[in-house]
Symmetry: C2
Subunit: 327 residues, 2 copies
């Protein structure tokens, strides 16, 4: 392994609920963090690039000296493979954000942009072989040994998949609420009451959702209520939250392809929040892959983005479209 260059690294994590950025010294001392808005998808595609630029500008303003000494930048973003037209070009343009003023002997840092699953994997397994399942607003599983195997499962977005993620849970819960409202199935009555408290009368829900570019985030905004109702034993909420755990286990098992160590980490706030979700996840994973060890995640996707930045700085990365792009 090449010795680490002196200096700082920047990590950025861009998701459907929010975004975060951190700048940290390579020796691992305490880092400085910023929060940013969540990603949206417009007719021009994902806003991930703009968000990343905004966060870099924020870090530069808050920590100008450290920013001038950045040697690597790692970015993980949702929808990068499918909703950003040119991820390689994005990496090049983000590298330009590190233009002078910099010391004369400090070239622009290495920049790596990756799908969120890559940074989630690096954060949770710290570079070891295995599979991760990341449940945030969306849901994506990823199996990798960091070298030859890069196997993605799901991450298809709130209309096509993201099975078990926040938007998936929110959508199912609102569907159940409206079945109660429509007089079709009363089991969603408690969800209906909770949704009314959060979103107002059902007649106004379509306008709150269909006119927005961040529909997935709006749907996921209902998750805290669903999880709370599930914890209280509400049958409809419990069924949705449990099924989310089963879906997450199926995706994780599918990501654990031959050649990988039988190791799984589950990451994202949903695993901590929902007792029933985490429980059903463990049960289903044990049925599907009794040989797999379930590891507590070492860190979160922002930790993974910093680790990616460090590897980029060391020159240890090789571009791997449609998962990883370098500049």
């Amino acid at each position: 392994m090449t010795p680490a260059p002196a200096g700082f690294v920047v990590g950025i994590d861009i998701g459907g609920t929010g975004s975060r950025a951190a700048i940290a010294p390579l020796d691992g001392a305490p880092r400085f963090e910023l929060d940013g808005p969540r990603v949206a998808v417009t007719a021009d595609g994902s806003t991930a690039g703009e968000l990343a630029r905004g966060l870099l500008a924020g870090l530069r303003e808050a920590r100008p000296a450290e920013f001038a000494a950045v040697v690597g930048c790692g970015i993980g973003a949702t929808g990068l493979a499918s909703l950003v037209a040119d991820p390689a070009g994005l990496a090049v343009s983000l590298r330009a954000e590190f233009a002078p003023p910099r010391p004369a002997d400090a070239p622009a840092p290495a920049v790596a942009v990756a799908i969120d699953a890559v940074t989630a994997h690096l954060g949770a397994l710290g570079g070891e072989s295995g599979a991760i399942i990341a449940l945030g607003t969306g849901a994506i599983a990823f199996g990798s040994d960091g070298h030859e195997i890069w196997h993605r499962v799901d991450g298809w977005g709130h209309l096509l998949g993201d099975r078990g993620g926040g938007a998936w849970i929110g959508r199912r819960a609102l569907e159940a609420a409206l079945l109660a409202h429509d007089g079709v199935d009363a089991s969603g009555s408690a969800l209906l009451a909770a949704a009314r408290a959060r979103f107002g009368e059902p007649a106004g829900w379509p306008a709150q959702l269909y006119t927005r570019d961040d529909r997935a985030g709006v749907l996921a905004g209902f998750v805290p209520d669903v999880v709370a109702l599930a914890a209280d034993g509400d049958g409809a909420a419990l069924a949705i939250v449990s099924e989310a755990g089963a879906e997450a286990a199926r995706s994780a098992a599918a990501a654990l392809v031959p050649g990988l160590a039988p190791r799984v980490a589950a990451t994202g706030g949903l695993f901590g929040a929902g007792g029933a979700l985490a429980e059903r996840f463990r049960e289903t994973l044990a049925e599907l892959r009794p040989d797999a060890e379930l590891r507590a995640p070492l860190g979160d996707p922002l930790d993974g983005a910093l680790r990616l930045a460090e590897r980029a700085a060391r020159g240890e990365l090789v571009a791997r479209a449609p998962s990883l792009w370098l500049a």
Copy 2:
């Protein structure tokens, strides 16, 4: 009943798959029809108003003499109650489209705008008491006696409901296709092959969907393949199409509220297309409401829009937000 004024009526039907307009003499002689694009939902809401204006301009250009003699205009549109900010204002502004050149003794016609369920009901049951279920791109059920009872079920759009409609079927089928692609559940393999043939490789699907304002129409575009596979006996496709029929029956039964005649009509292309859908619909409705008579629809929503126009011309309508607005 007031005697019918001489002249012509205009009917417009605006949906997620396309729009249609017709101009017809009040005595029921052959009508002239135009087709238009499907509705989209942007950050400003539904494009239904623009579409209606475009169709009126097309009719005026194609049939200027008849257009100058229009005495009533009826418009049914999807999303009107929730995604058009001011449906009453829309009725007023559409009435202005009938401005002179008109004969001096011909005032601007009465204009009625309604949710699509109202025109579907009028078209299918011809003004009789009962409930209809309309399956197009979306799904909405409506129970009415034409006077006191106006009871809507579903019509919540592709993220919140529209249970059993075209977008609902398309979304479920693409989800099943991606479960096969992801190695989670192979039962969707035939759906995956069909979806590849229509939309290309899965990696390109999110960009085809999430960047568009007519997502529901894109999803519903997969329905012909799903219905064909179901007819060939493919298990995954058959399950989705059958469940759509069951959902439609549940909505229809919920719309058949006390006070209505036990009469149901099912309208929309999906009932004709899918043998399994229509069969499961009949079975489920018979279980839920064994007393209900299942009627063949008298006409389609465009017929209903013309009937609405006729009633508007006769002064027989009373405004009924959030279902019907007059100008």
